[in-house]
Amino acid sequence: MSLLQPGFWGRTRPLLPIALLVALLGQVDSRLESAEPGIEFNRDIRPILSDNCFACHGPDARKRQAGLRLDVEDDARQALQSGARAIVPGHSDQSELVARIVSREPSEVMPPPETGKTLTPAQVDLLKRWVDAGAPWEGHWAFLPIRRPVPPAAADPQFVRNGIDQFILAGLASQGLDHAPAADKVTLLRRVHFDLVGLPPKPEEVESFLRDQSPEAYERVVDRLLESRHFGERMAMFWLDLVRYADSVGYHGDQPMSVTPYRDYVIDSFNANLPFDQFTIEQLAGDLLPNSTRAQKIAAGYNRLGMMSAEGGVQDKEYLAKYIAERVRNVSGAWLGVTLGCSECHDHKFDPFTTREFYQFEAFFADIQERGLYSGSDQTGAWGSSMPVPEPDQERELNRLDGELSKGKAQLDQPSPELAAAQADWEARQVSKVVWQPLAIASAQSREKAELKILDDQSVLAGGNRPATDTYTLAIPQVPAGTTALRLEVLPDDSLPAKGPGRADNGNFVLTELVLRRHREGAEPVVVELQNATASHEQKSHAEKHPDKAWSAASVMDGDARGADWGWAILDEAGRTNHAVLELKSDLQLAEGESLSVELRQNHSNPGHLLGRFRLLATTAPRPVKADGMGLPRNVRDLLAVAAVDRNDPQKAELAAYYRTIAPELQPVRERLATLQKQRDDLNRQIRITLVTVAVEPRMVRVLGRGNWMDETGDVVQPGLPAALGGVPGADRRLSRLDLAQWVVSPQNPLTSRVLVNRLWKQYFGAGLSRKLEDVGAQGDPPSHPELLDSLAAGLIDSGWDLKRLIRTMVTSGTYQQSAVPTPQQREKDPFNKWLSHQGRFRLDAELVRDNALAISGLLNPKIGGRNANPYQPPGYWAYLNFPMREWQNSAGDDLFRRGLYTHWQRQYLHPSLLAFDAPSREECTADRVRSNTPLQSLVLLNDPIYVEAARVFAEKVLTAGGATPAERLAYAYRRALSRAPRPEEERLLLPLLEKHLADYRADPEAARKLVSVGTSPSPTPLDPVELAGWTSLTRVLLNLHETINRN
């Protein structure tokens, strides 16, 4: 049943909780019978006033001159401060407006010369006639309630398929125009394929459609395409532009962000024909729905799709202001088709929106958790809240691994007497029996003249000047006879930063080298050799490049072999005691007159990493002598320091838990757990994440004077809607995003459905019924067929926002099925095809140019959704990105041949092939892609390797499946590329090229080999490179044809 057939209107849905729209500009019903039947206010008069007058005589109260407001009917007719009246209905001679626009006096004439605007004589005449006709007024069309006009009767049953055609015929008749004949079946099939799924029909689909002579043949095709999984992809292209979906953050470093599950949500929603009201609510406020589903949470990621910055030096408040203002621009642009964003700094110049209302709209988004300055250049999680989105098979695997892991952990935790005994044995071995004796220090010198004080416990405390690097030299008169090892204890002290033991701000130090020397009066000092350095704790952080992967004690006695910057350090145990132990290679006994010196070099390049408090001890215990608790975690060292009998239950449990991590008897269990854990981690890395919206206590939103984020004098505002669109509903609670979302799709909102219908109309006819897709405000274009627009918009709402039904209505109309070739009369009378006297002809959108070539050649990978794809991109294209520097990595295998919409969307450096064909950077809402025709497009189609590879693979198909003779093969190629046979004159152009290039490549087989080697896809069958190269020339021509990249 058509959307427009009687009976459809009867279906209604219950009103959504808030129906906020009440009065619309207060001028609903003043559509007057005009004495001048040719003049329509909205079509003819408002655009002139808006364009030329509203800037000074419109909604912006601050800019309003002479107290005159021309966008509101009553105001325009009032007596002005001067006593004059701008408009006296019926009397152009008494109307100041007319007097001013005809004046030749520079000080009087309107618009004033300095605006650079002038009215044409025709416009002046029109305004005059309008005033004389009584100055009939209309509210602005887009803000008026949607009507449900009855399609006018039509007398062309051949043409009329549904109500759309009745409206169109009436329009054509009013212009003395006729509709075009029906398009031929091949053109129609190609058209509807490109429009609904964005891919060309396969040759067999063409054949079967041509064979099917039944009246329902076409509708069957439409239904098949609406059910195709590719339908959602085609629609997603349209939607992702509006919601500025991209895979990088846009500002400054333009780092990647992960939101592909949102893109898949969009595809899935269109495929499932999710009602558009639901689709809207889930995106704006899915997180606020009770018991929101995973899909709804993913959908609400919409709120996180805006640009973000991690540029150092960003002022947090400034960027928070940028982000939230952009949300207003996006919602008002994507759903409402109005430019509310213009009111950020001043009242709107053309539409009835105030600055205050802009900030009230902002306040709807004040609950979104976000930061002005993000810290990350990391894809996972550095851009605020996110959630993992496992695929069903990943989810199953996760569950399996989690089950196995918990089983394994239970096994590990199982106590047993054997284990307890083993633990007791282990504990006994950890307690050191070594006796250490503190060494008395005679003097302590700092090279940089820091103060080194020797305390009573023989420890040395550094203070005073804190140099970047230093060397301490300690004089030690005596050591125990037969000393086998030294122990350097580093000690906390309240006088040190972070309590030490080092002097760096974080309490750390780096001891880069320790040198022990034996001194005898009158002789050269002799270095005492050291070995086997160990420490109670060695810092692991920032040690990735250290040869030991730790700030090891060993690096203090290596003669800087590991690098002069490395040494022993203890970060994350600041404020605690630690020690390093250095064995002496041979027992040391000082003779009479001998003494010892210890040189502590601290040459780390990060300044101030110096020892703060420390002491030296010695032992005569037999080697090996090692540091206590070496390699044990801090808590275990602490636990072992408590005697076993004194440990309380939690301490016992903690120690037992630790022992189970090292117990040899549990090694197999641990290994299994480690394997499982690794599998889980690997899986986790493969699982996509997506940014999500987290609602928090709303932050304060103020009116910012002239949009200045530093201004703190403006009023604090609450969420609210522009009065012109229904205003404040008088709710006794703060309105939420959910309220906003429900209002956006409430049946009383006249904008959303009109705007959506108008934009979809462009998809299927080449231009909107109102030509300005991005603005239906006063500066927009009045629709050519307002009744048709309303009829479809009302039908959409009444159908429960059933998009497939709407689209079906459009593409099954007779209007849609017309030929796209205008007659001379149509060109003459309707040059812009405003009256739909024929179909539109236009170039495929950027993504589809690619998809089409891949489909024709057979290279296309039809996989739906998932991670981004990185098709070939010229190396170095990202050279000017930084933080971090990056190089594009081409995808591998089939992922190179995915549809264009999956291409990684880098806002600052969008893939150059897409960019050349007008794909937007998606920094802001794009409602209407331009379609340009440029030499760079020609270069892409000629030389981008993907098009060369597609041509080669296409040529392989031609050679293997296209028949025997060149003519047969050409016909086959034409059927694949253009769904038709070549015309004789085309053959006469193309076959000579083939002959010439076959001969040419025969003479230059090396060149042939090179050409057919472009790209990575393998050739299925061995073909003669010369023949393949010759045919590749021909298929390149076909892929470059205007007809190939156009939808007619």
Binding site: R841, L939, E1043
Partner: protein
């Protein structure tokens, strides 16, 4: 033809609507424009390359703009704006009366102390124009052509939005860049090269701040107007090289065959889009020769290499300056050379000297070279950064600064050897003849014969312009 709905137009209407579209000009208008623009070959410019302005708003002074863009934020205090008082107050706190309530980037929450200018300032040329000693070549060869605008201010304090502001006249992404505006207004005369070319060099001193392609994007204008980047590695222009195994002759066969088939279609359909497509393939094929020809410096004499201090091909700023001259000769309208090296948060003394040395000779050579070819009078050189740097220390460097900085202009229509405007005695705020970024835009358009208020494009119901809501022509610096 490139308006969104162009395909619906017929050719006949297209010509009839010339004044409202981007396209065709009646012969009379063309001749008038010729007289005004002195465009030598305008009558040969096909309609898809023409601009929207059918008659310039006043007599132009220049034909083209070369913008030497010092990306990263050149310190005005080490380069163009002498501040002896700042030296006196070195190490002392910056008066709070100056800094209170001002925007701060990385120095948020830090002590704000004066930091003396790190280089001597000397008088240059016959005019005695005073600027830093780190510009010996510009001092020797260009000072008398240069007009320093020392009273610049902008509205953005971070690189990305400040670049966007400088290039598009607003911080909001998605608007057309200056070069796109110029092509939109004036069209392009180059028939085998893009009208708007961007080149980027990277130095060795400052942080390598990213540069977004947004800076030369066409925004809501048709994408044919966007800047085309010329690269020093790989294909100089993306996809300009033939596929492997395809000689120029083979490519020629291909393009002529496909255009012949396209022509067959056009005979049937008489569709201006097909006609444009044919013309664009011709242009693309010409570019495939024109670009290598541009990059081929083998015919340049030795004294030119000596002048620029490079033999080209090394991706240096000087090499790009030489290419800029060659582009200018071949009709490119707007040529923008970025040098990414001016973000001197630390070691501003050594780094500003180092980066200046990377730029000085090439910039001076470009001016000398254009002059000796009689092209300087018809070319505007613009030199500057997205913002300046703080008079306050950030260690031994300086932070971003929006309230006062210097740009300079030289060439056609510009009074050389002068300084215009001033910052306060510490170099913080522009105080005398304050010059907004949009004023630079207005002045550039003015020199090209365009009233900046009249070059507009209707988008989202508003007539947008490069100068957004501001902009006034800086009359006193015009010759």
């Amino acid at each position: 033809m490139v308006t969104p709905h162009s395909s619906i137009r017929s050719r006949r209407t297209f010509l009839g609507h010339a004044s409202s579209g981007l396209g065709g000009l009646a012969l009379g208008q063309l001749l008038q424009r010729d007289a005004l623009s002195r465009a030598s070959a305008a009558e040969a410019v096909p309609e898809h390359r023409r601009g929207i302005i059918t008659q310039l708003h006043h007599a132009p002074k220049i034909k083209r703009v070369i913008w030497l863009y010092m990306a990263g934020g050149m310190s005005h205090l080490e380069t163009w704006d002498p501040k002896p008082k700042l030296k006196e107050l070195h190490g002392q706190p910056m008066p709070e009366s100056i800094t209170k309530g001002q925007q701060i980037a990385q120095l948020q929450g830090a002590k704000l102390n004066c930091f003396a200018p790190q280089h001597d300032f000397v008088k240059h040329g016959q005019s005695g124009l005073e600027f830093s000693s780190i510009w010996p070549e510009l001092g020797k060869h260009a000072a008398d052509h240069m007009c320093l605008v020392r009273s610049m201010y902008t509205e953005a304090i971070n690189h990305d939005p400040a670049h966007t502001f400088m290039n598009t006249g607003t911080m909001i992404p998605g608007r057309p860049s200056m070069g796109a505006w110029l092509l939109y207004g004036l069209g392009s005369e180059a028939d085998s090269l893009p009208g708007f070319v961007v080149m980027v060099s990277t130095g060795n001193f400052g942080q390598k701040q990213p540069i977004a392609a947004r800076q030369w994007h066409s925004g809501f204008l048709p994408s044919r107007l966007q800047g085309v980047e010329f690269r020093s590695k790989g294909d100089p222009v993306l996809y300009v090289g033939n596929p492997a195994g395809v000689s120029r002759e083979r490519q020629s066969d291909l393009v002529s065959t496909l255009n012949a088939v396209n022509r067959l279609a056009n005979e049937q359909l008489d569709d201006p889009e097909i006609a444009t497509r044919i013309a664009q393939y011709e242009m693309a094929f010409k570019m495939q020769a024109g670009v290598p020809d541009l990059m081929d410096l083998s015919q340049e004499p030795a004294h030119i290499f000596d002048l620029y201090g490079t033999k080209g091909g090394d991706g240096s700023f000087a090499a790009n300056c030489l290419l800029a001259r060659r582009l200018a000769e071949r009709g490119s309208r707007f040529i923008q050379l970025y040098h990414r090296d001016w973000d001197h948060h630390g070691a501003v003394k050594a780094h500003s000297q180092g980066t200046a040395a990377e730029v000085d000779r090439g910039a001076a050579a470009l001016i000398t070279d254009l002059k000796q070819r009689g092209m300087l009078d018809e070319t505007l050189i613009v030199f500057g950064s997205e913002f300046g740097r703080t008079p306050m220390a950030q260690g031994d460097g300086r932070d971003h600064h929006l309230a006062g900085f210097t740009m300079w202009l030289a060439g056609g229509g510009i009074r050389g050897g002068m300084a215009y405007g001033a910052t306060d005695e510490l170099g913080y705020h522009a105080v005398e003849n304050r010059t907004h970024v949009n004023d630079i835009h207005a002045t550039i358009l003015h020199l090209l014969g365009i009233d900046h208020l009249k070059l507009t494009y209707r988008f989202q119901g508003r007539d947008f312009r490069l100068t957004d809501i501001g902009g006034k022509v800086i009359e006193p610096i015009l010759s």
